[in-house]
């Protein structure tokens, strides 16, 4: 049964002098608990898809359905993680984490305790009263993750959330996010241009075309890879096979114009 469905979604950006078609007839669906990666070059409309699913933008054509209802009718169903953490520098860590409940007037002591527990779970104890400026990039992105998860979203949208981090931190965070999402049984969409990250984290990979953005090809990630953590996936022999296949696909589309 499909959980989140996009039906023939297109999106246009209008300006005074021109319009651009950012997305062209995108259709796909996710089962509950499934992890899908959108992979493609920059400017292929990956982030636009996420903004539409998050309800920040309205698509110009088509439907987005969550549990068979239009997405704008279901509240707080979506958690959105951006490329940078965008923690509010004037709020303490705990206030940052509890931003979602505050917006929805649902702040309770129980949630507060929950938040502290989740912060500990991602390896951040005793930071709740500090300010974001005193935390490292990796720690801040973990806070942003907790800020998203505390709202118990039905779908988690990850917009290159690891791209601003150094390589080691990135791999560690991939593991952490992978583990957390499996534990909480979350449905997730990851946007990335990193082939390795897409294979390591997701169950299915949608490779996208640019100008206008459309889905070019779908790759299923082998079952063995799905069940292990991102860091171990990268050592599996099947990882390299899939990596090469996707590389070829992307290279074909770019026309190999770098060489």
């Amino acid at each position: 049964m499909s959980f989140l469905t996009l039906e023939h979604v297109s999106h246009h950006y209008f300006s005074k002098t021109d319009y651009t078609k950012a997305l062209d007839d995108i259709s796909f669906s996710l089962k509950e608990g499934e992890f899908v990666a959108l992979l493609g070059p920059s400017g292929c409309g990956k982030s636009t898809i996420l903004s539409i699913i998050a309800g920040i933008m309205k698509q110009t054509v088509g439907n987005v359905l969550l549990e068979k209802k239009p997405i704008d009718e279901s509240e707080l169903a979506i958690g959105y993680m951006l490329q940078q953490d965008y923690l509010f520098p004037w709020k303490t860590i705990i206030d940052n984490v509890l931003l979602g409940p505050k917006i929805n007037n649902k702040s309770t002591d129980e949630l507060r305790n929950n938040a502290i527990k989740m912060l500990q779970e991602v390896g951040l104890s005793n930071v709740q009263d500090s300010y974001p400026s005193s935390l490292s990039g990796g720690m801040r992105q973990r806070v942003a993750l907790v800020r998203t998860l505390i709202n118990d979203p039905k779908v988690l949208l990850l917009d290159e959330p690891f791209s601003a981090l150094d390589y080691q931190t990135k791999l560690k965070l991939e593991d952490l996010v992978g583990k957390l999402l499996k534990n909480y049984h979350k449905t997730a969409i990851l946007v990335t241009h990193d082939i390795g990250e897409a294979i390591a984290m997701s169950d299915r990979i949608l490779v996208m075309n640019a100008n206008p953005g459309s889905i070019a090809k779908t790759f299923e990630v082998p079952i063995e890879l799905r069940q292990s953590l991102p860091l171990t996936v990268r050592k599996h022999p099947k990882y390299q096979v899939l990596f090469d296949k996707i590389w070829e696909e992307l290279d074909k589309r770019e026309g190999g114009d770098i060489r």
């Binding site: 998050a54 920040i56 004037w90 929805n104 949208l157």
Partner: protein, 266 residues
Amino acid sequence: MKSDKQLYDNYLKKLKKERKIVLTWQVIILAVFFVLWEVASRFYWIDPLLFSSPTKVSISVVERFSNGSMFTHLSVTLFETILGFIIGTIGGVVLATLLWSFTRFSKVMDPYLVVLNAMPKVALGPIIIVALGPGYMAIIMMGFLVSVIITTLTVYSAFNEVDPNYSKVLKSFGATRWQCFKEAVFPATMPTMISTLKVNVGLSWVGVIVGEYLVSKQGLGYLIIYGFQVFDFTLVMSSLVMIAILAAIMYKLVEKLESWLIKHTV
């Protein structure tokens, strides 16, 4: 080999020395200015009738303080300036908030704001006096008008420059536009608002003094015009010195307020 502590002490000593040198120069410039003024006036290098002299000015100031007249003028001007400053700053922030809240309103207002900003507000003086009557109200209005438009424009453009991704985060939680303003846009703009305070101190003084030139029977601006009319330039100079001191004190206080606000809000 010097220890870390010694190196640090040396660094502190150097800082202290630098501070001392700067302070010495500041005092020297002030002293030279007053001495030159006094000497030039005594030897008729400048006309003492027009430019007075530090001794005459200080005698006049002390005299006016002892008979209480200076204190009245001073407090009137100070009252008007502070009120003009506060209303102008708050009014500017409120107007900017309105512009931000209603996008169409801000588009409609745009040409009017440009004209109002470009126009010298003091030119409106006579009209304001006719409208509000020759009194405190008109002068406070001048202090307000001079600072309010520039505050509005500065704060409004700062609102628009806040990174839209903060609002994006909030919108993904289902926040309304007003919630985005309260949680992200307004607090992110705090530093800009605080820095407009400093600019507005100077602007409010301009408005109030010009206002007093035009109409008042009390205040430092009135003293200047009165001294000018009866050809008592010692009085004009005394008032200028008082204004310089008060404006500097107010600026310093706002600076203190600024650092306090930054520590407690940002």
